[in-house]
Amino acid sequence: MALLEVRDLHVAYGKIEAVKGISFEVEQGQVVTLIGTNGAGKTTTLRTISGLLRPAAGRIMFDGKTIQNTPAHQIVSMGLAHSPEGRHIFPRMTIEENLLLGAYLRKDAAGIAEDVSNAYSMFPILGERRSQAAGTLSGGEQQMLAMARALMCRPRLLMLDEPSMGLSPIMMKQIMDTITQLKSSGTTILLVEQNAQAALSLADQGHVLEVGRIALSGRGADLLHDEQVRKTYLGEE
């Protein structure tokens, strides 16, 4: 059974339907990516899975349980972490406080402390600035914080929305390397990206979204070599 299963999901803003019946699965230990242009419905899909939006129709199953009507804060407690688009760190709190909020639902003080130091060893820059207000970090550092924060709840599924957005090429590479690291440590990841090249090269499975529908699905490597995908998303003629 897949860890996450999305069946015929429809999401509407008022009368405008942004997601028009998409279905996909994420297996335990896999990295699955959703790629597509602006307005394709990628972010809407993630926000619906994590409970910030309510679907108009369809089903979302996480670990065998139906969650499309579960409040967002309870979905987190089931082990589904969502690092939102635009990072959304808490700007007036320190880096450490941000990390602790990521572990908001956990009660094991020792485990939390351990994970905090893990985060600092994964991103040393965060450790150096742990008591600095998070709003003072650079974009790439904020992205690191957002990912580290999402990992603090020891998620069974990590959803990353546009982690490379607005970053310099160097930063972008560093973030992608981190995701590769997470993958090799066995973390299940649902990745939304506009940088299709990077996303597809590390994904087990990829889905191409076009105006609210899945236009194309396949193994990451296959999609990477698909002529249509190369033309539309990788800018090749």
Partner: protein, 592 residues
């Protein structure tokens, strides 16, 4: 270009079958013919019953003891009975009458049947209770009881035929449209007149029950929507008819007694309309609006030549008083608005609330003891002379066209003109570039600014315009009441106009419409004035009404189409915000 709606999203959505018209036929056991016959018989019997006595004594107010012609509340029952017969015509598909029920006649019949029954039963019940026993009923009472029950039974035996409004029929000839508008407005005026002139609580309750239920029927049969549409298409004819009907009111009055009520309602409604520009069009919550009425009233009173005024020897002509009243109100409005309107909207609410309170304190203090002598403190400026325009003294009775106009009748005419001016300004502004700019700012100030609309300037303009209209009404109010005191202008008080009531009138009636605040003001004035029970609890009930209104019908009794959309599709805003966020994201990406 109206049908070029963006298509994306609609493609995968097959058109929903019309669930309303596809409802299974209920109550098929009784043949519709029988049910209709029941209604017809009941309506005729209802009409007949109003010519009988409903009790033997005259001790119940309104005299229901006469046989031969209808008296007291029997008039209401009679009118409803006649309307029922007309509505039955739509059920039989009589030519011309089908126009009355575009969305189905059954609801119309149900509403009218209930109106007749509930209001009649209420009166009969009141007779039994107040005169101690059913023994006070006579044959006519029983006839009325049964007769009004029959149409209810009939109407509820008919299967509900509610459906989407059929496409409007071929446009009626212009004269017919005008006749219909005139008839509708004059009927509305007669209804309002009846409400204002009811002389005892039971009469008003019976009236309110009948009107409320009948309005429900008319609304769900779709005829109200059709009338609204007709009115909107014939703006000039409607305005003229409304003005004529309002004029007719004063000619119908035999004494000045009810003109005072009408005057109060007119002042209240005029100020509410002014507030509606600020709240309904520009979306600025002004909680101290009545203070601007006060500013206008004080300004006018001080230079009116009143003996108690600081400037007792200054008696400026009325036009100059208006100029001063309006001018001072605008200055006050700009002083309050300029620092606050740059900030988030909520600040305005609290600052205007403060201003309303400060105004009262200031005029209380400017009494020569705790401040310079200007306003005569709590006693206020009294002895403000009645107006005299072109040799027409508003304080003295006049005979016009064979009808005697007392003081309040005179002022009624003036207030009607004032209201017409405010309505005119409201309508012009609403349709102008200015009005569209306000709507844009109200809905999304950031987007409006991006389109080159200077939000601050437009908001200040709305605020100042609102202040000036209240100031204008205040100048008249000073003369009408002959006195101006601080406690007439409070945030909340037991009688209108005060800021809480004004806001309630706008919200209850419908923000952003003309008829809404008029209806809201009339209801908010009449209901407490006519219900003794309400007198000490009216503020309590208004508080409750505000909460319930916002929860269940935030668009008010007369909804503005655009507003209704805004209140019920908040998701749209979310979608827009989301689109903006996505756009930002792509921009950021482009930069990187």
């Amino acid at each position: 270009m109206a049908d070029k709606v963006p298509e994306w999203g609609s493609a995968s959505q097959p058109r929903q079958p019309d669930t309303l018209s596809a409802q299974p036929q209920r109550n098929a056991a009784v043949s519709p013919a029988l049910a209709k016959a029941l209604i017809g018989l009941g309506a005729l019997a209802t009409i007949a019953s109003t010519f009988l006595a409903w009790t033997w004594t005259t001790s119940f107010p309104g005299d229901l003891s006469v046989t031969g012609y209808p008296g007291g509340n029997q008039v209401i029952t009679l009118v409803v009975g006649v309307l029922l017969l007309v509505a039955l015509g739509t059920a039989y598909g009589l030519p011309g009458l089908r126009w009355l029920a575009p969305r189905g006649h059954v609801r119309l019949l149900r509403g009218l049947a209930l109106a007749g029954a509930v209001s009649t039963w209420y009166i009969l019940l009141a007779v039994a209770i107040e005169l101690n026993g059913i023994a006070n009923w006579v044959t006519g009472s029983w006839v009325a009881l049964t007769a009004t029950a029959l149409p209810v039974a009939g109407a509820f035996l008919l299967a509900d035929d509610r459906h989407e409004a059929a496409r409007p029929p071929a446009a009626l000839p212009r004269w017919a449209q005008t006749v219909i508008i005139l008839a509708a407005i004059i009927s509305a005026m007669f209804i309002a007149d009846y409400g204002i002139t009811t002389s005892f609580t039971e009469e008003f309750i019976g009236f309110a029950l009948a009107v409320g239920l009948a309005a429900w029927g008319l609304n769900s049969s779709g005829v109200l929507a059709r009338l609204t549409e007709l009115n909107a298409r014939n703006r000039v004819a409607t305005s003229a008819a409304a003005f004529a009907a309002a004029l007719l009111f004063v000619f119908l009055q035999t004494s000045d007694q009810y003109n005072t009520i009408a005057d109060d309602i007119l002042i209240f409604a005029t100020v509410a309309l002014g507030l509606n520009i600020v709240v309904g069009l520009a979306g600025l919550l002004d909680l101290g609006y009545v203070a601007f009425l006060g500013v206008g009233a004080y300004s006018a009173a001080l230079v009116s030549g009143a003996a108690s005024s600081r400037f007792a020897h200054t008696a400026l002509p009325f036009w100059a008083q208006i100029l001063i009243g309006v001018g001072v109100s605008i200055i006050a409005g700009v002083i309050i608005g300029a620092p606050t309107l740059r900030l988030r909207g909520d600040y305005l609410a609290i600052v205007t609330l403060g201003f309303g309170e400060i105004f009262r304190i200031v005029v209380n203090n400017l009494n020569g003891v705790s401040g310079p002598s200007l306003t005569n403190g709590p006693e206020g400026v009294y002895g403000v002379p009645d107006l005299s325009l072109f040799g027409y003294d508003f304080g003295k009775p006049h005979v016009l066209f064979g009808v005697t106009f007392g003081k309040f009748g005179n002022y009624y005419l003036l207030l009607l003109v004032a209201m017409a001016i405010v309505v005119f300004i409201y309508a012009r502004v609403n349709e102008s570039r200015l009005g569209r700019a306000w709507v844009a700012i109200r809905e999304d100030e950031t987007a409006a600014e991006a389109m080159g609309i200077h939000g601050y300037r437009f908001k200040l303009l709305a605020f100042a315009l609102g202040a000036s209209l209240a100031g204008f009404a205040g100048t008249i109010n000073a003369h009408l009441l002959n006195t101006v005191t601080p406690d007439q202008y409070m945030f909340s008080a037991s009688s209108p106009p005060n800021s809480a009531f004004l806001l309630a009138a706008v919200v209850l009636g419908g923000m952003g419409t003309i008829s809404g605040p008029l209806l809201g003001a009339s209801l908010l004035y009449l209901v407490p004035a006519k219900f003794e029970f309400f007198q000490n609890k009216q503020l309590l009930l208004f508080g409750l009404a505000l909460i319930l209104m916002m929860r269940f019908r935030p668009e008010g009794l007369v909804p503005n189409k655009r507003r209704q959309l805004e209140f019920h599709e908040e998701e749209v805003a979310e979608a827009e915000a989301h689109a903006v966020a996505e756009a930002d994201a792509s921009e950021a990406e482009a930069v990187a």
